[in-house]
C-alpha cells in the first residue's frame, strides 16, 4: 500500500485530497453519499464574521469546459458555523479546514480567533482571493503588503496551521507565495478563480448579475499547473494546488509540478463521488512507478525534454 499521507505544518492528512472551498457547501450536504472522513480535509465555504446574503441570481454560467461564478460569498458567519455545523462535522470525523474571509484585517483575525477557540477546526485557509466581492477578498490578495499583513495578523492569534489562498489575477503569484511564507504561513493554496465575463449578446449585458465572475474548471487547469509550479519553485512551505482537477491524472500533474496536496471544486459538482476514484488513481500510479510515499512524488518534474 502506498503512503498517501501529507504534512501541512503540524497537521498530518491521510491523503492529499481536499474539497475546494465553496464547492462542497459546509461538507454536511454531501455526508449522505460521501464518507467525509475519507477526504484528507473538508474545506468549507468562505466565512465572514457575520452572515452574508451574496449576489442576486444568475450566479453561475457554464463556459467551454468551465464554470463562471459570482456567488458573492453567501454564508452563515463564523459563530453560526461553530454552533450549527461543526459538531456534526466532528461527529463524522471530518478534518475541517475553514476558508476565512474578512473585509478588514481585524475581521480576518477575529474570525480566525473564533474558529481557533472552537473544538474541531484543523486549519484555516485565508481567502484573500475571492474575485466576486469588492471589499475584502481580492483587495488583500492583489497587494503584496496587504497579503503579508493578513497572514501576519492571523499568525498572531492562532496556533492552527494557516494557508492563504492566492489569486491568479496578479502578475506574479510566486511573489505572493513568498510574502505568505515570510509572514508565517504554513502553506499556500492556489489558484482561486480567474476574473472573467460572459456576455449575453441578445441583451448586450453580462450574463451574471454581478457582471464579472470567477472562472473555474478544466478550462483553467494548464494555467493553474503553471502557477503552482512557479510557486513551488520559490517557497519551502507546502503548496496546495487546484484548478480544474477532474481525474487522478489531473491531480498527478499538480503533485508532480510541486503541489503537496490538491483541492477539487468544480468537478465535484459533476461527480460528487469523485474522491474514491482520485485516491485509487493516485495510488495506482505510485505503485506503477514504484513510489512508496506521496512526498517522494511531489515536485519531481523533470527538466528538459
Amino acid at each position: 500500500m502506498a503512503d498517501l499521507t501529507v504534512r501541512i505544518g503540524s497537521l498530518v492528512l491521510k491523503n492529499p485530497l481536499m474539497s475546494a472551498s465553496g464547492c462542497f457547501g459546509y461538507g454536511l450536504e454531501y455526508a449522505g453519499i460521501v464518507d467525509l472522513s475519507s477526504l484528507g480535509a473538508v474545506v468549507v465555504k468562505g466565512l465572514f464574521l457575520e452572515e452574508r446574503e451574496g449576489h442576486p441570481p444568475p450566479r453561475v454560467v457554464e463556459t467551454p469546459s468551465g464554470l463562471l461564478n459570482a456567488i458573492g460569498l453567501q454564508g452563515i458567519g463564523a459563530r453560526r458555523f461553530v454552533r450549527e455545523k461543526l459538531p456534526e462535522l466532528r461527529r463524522l470525523n471530518a478534518v475541517v479546514v475553514v476558508n476565512v474571509c474578512g473585509t478588514t484585517i481585524d475581521e480576518y483575525a477575529e474570525v480566525s480567533r473564533i474558529l481557533s477557540d472552537a473544538e474541531g477546526v484543523a486549519a484555516l485557509e485565508l481567502n484573500i482571493s475571492c474575485p466576486n466581492v469588492r471589499e475584502g477578498g481580492i483587495q488583500f490578495g492583489s497587494d503584496l503588503a496587504s497579503a503579508g499583513a493578513v497572514v501576519a495578523a492571523v499568525r498572531k492569534v492562532t496556533p492552527l496551521p494557516i494557508f492563504p489562498k492566492l489569486t491568479p489575477n496578479v502578475t506574479s503569484v510566486a511573489a505572493f507565495a513568498r510574502a505568505a511564507e515570510e509572514n508565517g504561513a504554513d502553506a499556500v493554496s492556489l489558484v482561486n478563480t480567474f476574473l472573467a465575463m460572459v456576455v449575453d449578446v441578445e441583451r448586450r449585458r453580462p450574463v451574471l448579475s454581478n457582471g464579472m465572475g470567477g472562472l473555474s474548471g478544466p478550462a483553467i487547469r494548464p494555467i493553474a499547473v503553471r502557477m503552482v509550479y512557479e510557486c513551488a519553485q520559490q517557497v519551502r512551505i507546502p503548496v496546495i494546488g487546484m484548478g480544474g482537477i477532474a481525474s487522478a491524472r489531473d491531480a498527478l500533474e499538480f503533485l508532480i509540478a510541486g503541489a503537496s496536496a490538491v483541492q477539487v471544486g468544480t468537478a465535484n459538482f459533476v461527480d460528487p463521488l469523485i474522491w474514491t476514484a482520485l485516491a485509487a488513481g493516485i495510488e495506482d500510479y505510485m505503485i506503477r512507478h514504484g513510489i512508496a510515499r506521496l512526498a517522494d512524488l511531489v515536485g519531481t518534474l523533470e527538466r528538459g525534454r
Binding site: C23, P57, P64, T266, N268, V270
Partner: protein, 271 residues
Amino acid sequence: MAPADVQAEVLGNRRLSADYNVLLLDAPAIAAAARPGQFVMIRTGPGTDPLLRRPFSVFEIVGDGGRAPSAFSVLCKRVGPGTERLYRLEAGGCLSVLGPLGKPFDLVAPPAEAWMVAGGVGLAPFAALAGALRASGVACRLFYGARTAADLFYLDDFAARGVALDLATEDGSRGTRGLVTAPLEIALRGRPAGAAVTLYACGPEPMLKAVAALAGAHGCASQVSTERVMACGMGGCYSCVVSVRDSSGRARFVRSCLDGPVFDGAAVAWD
C-alpha cells in the same frame, strides 16, 4: 434519504416534436424513492463540454403492476448542447443520473382539489403529481399553456388519468388564445364559494409569480416549482438560490436544490 448516483439505461426516447423528448430511464433506486416535484441531475455525456449536469424534474414514475417503480422519465426541451445530446440518444444508451433530489410537492387530500398550472416545459413535474393525486382520489385540473398547439403534449395521458384539461396557446391554435393564467383566473372566479383548491405551478418565472398572486387574491394555497440555473443539485455551490421570506418576513436567498425546487408561492419574494 440520500440520493443515488446511478448509471441508468435509456429504455426509450420518445421524440414528441422537433424540440421536446421524453427519456425513460431504468433506475430502480431513484424511481422507487422519487416523489412528485423532486428532480434528478443528469450528466448528458462524458467529457468536459458540456461540463455540468442538467437538472430535470421527475416526469413519470413507472412501475409494473403492484411492485415498486423501477423506471422514471424526464421531459426534455432542446435548448443547448446538453439537451441536444439527450434529444439524440437512442434506447440502450447509458446516462449518469443523480437523484432523487429536492423537496417534493405537498399532496392535498380530498375534498381539496388540485389545480396544476404548466407553462411549456413546465409540464415536467405534473405527470407524476397527477398520478399520485388521482391515486388518492383528489380531483385534478391541468391548466396548460404553450406557444402553439403542436407544443402541447401528453393531453390524452392526462385525460386518461381523469385530469380535466384547460388549454391555452399564445397563437390561439388550441384552447384560449394568450397566457394560461387567463383561463385559470376565470376558473378561480367561477369556483363554488368555500371549495378548497391548491394551485401547483411550474413554468416561466413571470407565470409562477402571476399564479402566486392569483392564489393570494382568491384565498388558495400555491406551490410553485422553480427552475434555476443549478451547478450541483446537492447544496454545494449556492448558485440556484431563490429569495424566500422567513417567518419574520425577511427575504433570504435559499438554495432551491435543498429547500426547493417547490416553494410556497406566498413565501417567495418575487422581484
